[in-house]
Symmetry: C2
Subunit: 265 residues, 2 copies
């Protein structure tokens, strides 16, 4: 292995991993090294570009802290999050589509100014209503908004805030990358939400606002046509929960179809 050159280096690196005990790790690293090297060869990566790329990744790591995760944002904006989500969440047609929690949302203002009500039913693919399903705004930790729970007929009413279209955090390395690529940092208006119900797979998804700008240019590539819904604007008055709003509010009618959980192996 002393005569390693540009043609043999890839195999030389892969051969070093033969002693690893974790077969899956070897599989992943073998493919990673092959694609990384093929990329460098395909574009004949210059030393300046290589230096720039390493510096870029180091900068991403340095600004990452708490809710701000620049590498996850990079993954969102390069379509990797969307791809990994679809690779791992193949569900029968008819089940409500999921989206990976978008790192792009972290650090952005989650609070819209206008009340927004999501109402509908939760059911399984075979049409049975799901009672006791809990719906909440957001993808991970519970947010300020109270969760809603479905009744015996699967119906729910979830109170939220209508957030407008907003840009991903773009004052860091990823923002500079988007600018250099002539890309805008905006995401369309959307409502991230999570549904959990006994016997069903948890659903993490987003409801996109029909007619919103950036539906065709979501910086995080998360839009699915099946998740675009009408956000119907109402003048001040009585809201679906029987209260009164002195500002305009939105209603979204949307039914969710959950996937019955696989029984434990």
């Amino acid at each position: 292995m002393r005569h390693i050159d540009e043609d043999t280096i890839t195999q030389a690196v892969i051969a070093r991993h033969a002693a690893a005990g974790d077969a899956r790790l070897v599989e992943v690293m073998t493919s990673l090294v092959q694609h990384l090297h093929a990329f460098a060869r395909d574009v004949k990566l210059t030393e300046a570009e290589w230096h720039g790329g390493l510096r870029f990744l180091a900068d991403c790591g340095r600004v990452s802290s708490g809710p701000r995760q620049e590498l996850a944002l990079l993954s969102d904006t390069l379509g990797l999050s969307m791809l990994v989500g679809t690779l791992n969440r193949r569900r029968p047609r008819g089940v409500t589509e999921s989206t990976l929690p978008a790192a792009a949302d972290a650090g952005a203002d989650e609070h819209g100014s206008e009340p927004c009500f999501v109402r509908g039913r939760v059911r399984t693919l075979d049409g049975r209503p799901v009672a006791g399903a809990r719906l909440r705004i957001g993808a991970s930790a519970p947010r300020a908004a109270a969760p809603a729970e479905t009744g015996a007929d699967g119906s729910f009413l979830l109170a939220a805030r209508a957030a407008p279209a907003r840009a991903v955090v773009h004052d860091g390395p990823v923002g500079r990358m988007l600018a250099a690529l002539g890309r805008q940092p905006w995401r369309p208006a959307h409502l991230p939400l999570t549904i959990e119900a006994p016997g069903c797979e948890p659903l993490v998804t987003q409801l996109f606002r029909s007619g919103s700008e950036h539906l065709d240019s979501d910086a995080a590539f998360a839009v699915r046509s099946s998740l675009i819904a009408d956000w119907v604007r109402h003048e001040p008055g009585q809201t679906p929960d029987g209260a009164f709003s002195d500002v305009p509010f939105y209603c979204i009618d949307f039914d969710f179809v959950l996937h019955a959980q696989e029984p434990p192996a």
Copy 2:
């Protein structure tokens, strides 16, 4: 583009870059996105692995500071540095081979304990001696050791310290990666050096010690057979520079062949 799925996401991302002004950036990013997505598809990357990878890169960025550049070390240990070096430094056969400055050396102790003398001649490919060439230990900034200069016949004598085989910095994310892959973190004994001469391309290279452990398993994949030299051990006594050493010392005889610089365009 609202019907993006796992088959169309790659093209959707690439299409977003069409507006970028920098054609080379578009070329590099197009290939990067294609290979990144192909990697995720090939191994069917799980969400846990994706999370782990993002966390790993963020950790690499966070520990990088000053001479410690964990992403560069990652590049070294995955063979990317070696590949980029050879892609960009193709020189006619006969010219002394170069190596990219190994990030793997940064942060490691550069100071060997025993005196070491490198002596030989510097010439061009057509055999002309190179007078006034400056040789120094290290890849970038001048080190403690004084540089040497070639005479009219191209001969030089460079005083250095013989560093033993040593491990790359492995108390961080890259060290954990190497351990998980069953790889050792050692580099063979080597002497990094730089030669600069008027009219010639600068040469950054390393002289590896013949017989050193790890010549076949350099963690940074930098060994070239043409750069392996005998480090001849001498008992205490008179040294090549006419001084006296009361500890054992090494002599390395090595001739360097520089590449005549392209005239400015």
